[in-house]
Homo-oligomer: 469 residues x 2
Amino acid sequence: MTGNTKAAVEFARQNGTRFVEELKALLRIPSISTLPEHAGDVRKAAQFVADELQRIGMENVRLIETMSPEHPGGHPLVYADWLHAGGEAITVLCYGHYDVQPAEPLDEWKSPPFEPAERDGNLYARGAVDDKGQMWMHVKALESLFAANAGKLPVNVRMIVEGEEEVGGEGIARFVRERGDQLKADVAVVSDTEMFAPDLPTLCVGLRGMIYTEIEARGARTDLHSGMYGGTAPNPFVALAQIIAKLKDENGRVMVPGFYDKVAKPSADELKAWKALPFDEEHYRQTEVGSPELTGEPGYSVLERTWARPTLDVHGMPGGFTGAGAKTVIPAKAVAKISMRLVPDQTPVESFAAYKAYVESIAPKGVEVEVRLIHSGDPIVVSTDNPYVKAATEAMREVFRKETVFVRGGGSIPIVGDFVRELKIPTLLMGFGLPDDNLHAPNEKFHIANFHRGIESLVRFFSGVGGRG
Amino acid sequence: MTGNTKAAVEFARQNGTRFVEELKALLRIPSISTLPEHAGDVRKAAQFVADELQRIGMENVRLIETMSPEHPGGHPLVYADWLHAGGEAITVLCYGHYDVQPAEPLDEWKSPPFEPAERDGNLYARGAVDDKGQMWMHVKALESLFAANAGKLPVNVRMIVEGEEEVGGEGIARFVRERGDQLKADVAVVSDTEMFAPDLPTLCVGLRGMIYTEIEARGARTDLHSGMYGGTAPNPFVALAQIIAKLKDENGRVMVPGFYDKVAKPSADELKAWKALPFDEEHYRQTEVGSPELTGEPGYSVLERTWARPTLDVHGMPGGFTGAGAKTVIPAKAVAKISMRLVPDQTPVESFAAYKAYVESIAPKGVEVEVRLIHSGDPIVVSTDNPYVKAATEAMREVFRKETVFVRGGGSIPIVGDFVRELKIPTLLMGFGLPDDNLHAPNEKFHIANFHRGIESLVRFFSGVGGRG
């Protein structure tokens, strides 16, 4: 460890409490990207991040608008860079997102989702770990390095922070596609994943893709009384139930014809490494899922089912009467929000086309169905054959005193596919969340020790990767 | 027609505009009995009705509380009587309800549901025909008779108006069961049904019963991220869909074992009379239902399917994410609101027990289901073999100049079963709604001419039925 790295680590440790307080201020902004009524909050969060990047010494800080006639709900990107490392220094592209998921159901939060609360060494708030807290680690690692290096960084850095990750990332995808030259770098670093287990440094080398869809079933012209019309009027909920029951069988297998045709099997080495991971299925069922039994395709392990097998879920079925008590309505229409997780080598385009055709073919009589694609993301597997992976594992070994494990993630980070495909650079998925951090759920949290270990790992990574191989 | 009847009819005609304005004032009170936050409005509507009964000359007017530890959400009954007709005069029990269904979806109303609006000879508002408008016909017929008879009525009258018809009528059912002597009468008259066609006087002689249920499916302990847990965590919506798909097949047949065992076939005479009714299935499909096709059991006509066959409908599926856009949640739980319409000789108790056992037996692995009965009502067929039916058909012939048709109704009016069973009196279901009045749906209306014809029919009925056989 060079003197400057040590000074940066020291700075981060001494300022750790302030870093957490700043993060709390960011978490208080309800930047829920999917809800139009929060568009102002989303922008406020963007400005908050931009202001801090400016303050710590980054340059060319700006909001990049993504709103356009084709993308009317676009939220701004935050961009900043510092490109004066000189010599053989490489350029690192840091990515994060400042938008968050909705917080519903609100009554299940032990403390309000936008009033960050510390309990038992954790920071509870919507966005604590996904991804405001992890994005903030990058900002604070850079601040620490600036402080320890007299206003300089050991590497060139570009930082791009988006506000649409939770709604498909259309704005940044377009930016990368059309103006990728503005993000020219040697490697991208993304902290939006989790560690396999507490204290176990982890790099994620694969992510599932997804298609998020809606099926709208329309029956009668208007809502009807089930007394008068029960027996003749089509019921859109019954129709959707019949469709869903034909989409996924009771073994968890997706029944869309051809759905599995392009699913690639993980390599024997990868499967072997997964078997060696410290994983207890019964413990996982009890502590993480908490259901009477786990579901999913027979013949595949939990890690295979969540990392390397596609699946289908229903997220909500709006329509009809959802209040307390009874209303005897046959609704004119109902919607099912359905997503599929995809794995290499499935593609969103082919999967959606097959799904749409199948749903239309099985729609029961009396209803008309409309199948809509809300957003999608490619499944990816990232390369581990580069010096940046080595720099990252060394940095984490110094902090955690353990060897890094390589895992995949079940979720989707659409931008990673774009970095691989458009920028043609390797991406490190170096995340510091924990499996029980309640992403997208009530009581989302970030283990505060991991926030600090993440900052220190990033400080060491930026220092270690500084010189070109 | 006696002189007094003629004077009462004349009074009703001259005061018709005022009657409608009074009804509008009642319709402005959002007395939605299923929503706890409207309990104050429900009571306000009860008081409105009581005040008017007092004003027109009824006696012993009072609100009867139904709230109790077992029935904490009970809404008051409105009771009034006038029992001085003397001699051989019979006693008529008038029934109506002042509560209404919720108005959702609000954005489909052309004028706000609680701001009554006249358009094209119709009065639009939630409750216009179901049942405030029809109940108000009784009040106004009594007012007209009091006015024409120097403060007397040609019959003894008891009037009972409930505020829980749309939520199962538990309060009045208990009152009839425990204090039925206070409702002692020779015949009950209920105006809460519709005419078979415009200008066609109609008596309804059968009603379907119902059980209204909820199935709650619980999987994971908390909401989970579908990226991380898709493939292992049970999905309560998928489970409910699989259950619903096994509850009703694609031909509309309910698959609960034994469900049809006690279904009684209508008599040959009744089926023959139904075939003679002016009914055009294609016109019904286009103008009333408006769906691409009708659904329901093959081999039965539309009238048989809606009047004499049981069925099952799903009314809403609360849970998960129902907002705009995307949220990738696997909800911890989801609910399906499901009702079954029952016909003679099915019973709510037996039907619910069979349904509950079946649902529990088909619940997919990974979820726990809870099957709840929200409310129920007996199916009934009422007798036509009594002098009151003759008096009613004569009264309506004088107003409509047509013979009355006898039909059944697909809906449920739970109290009718209680009148038959507990009070052991015949009930006349003399309603003046129209098939396209949008009961329980947006843009509910009452054809204003039918409001006036209903009042006149009731005036003539009360006069004609005055003397005991």
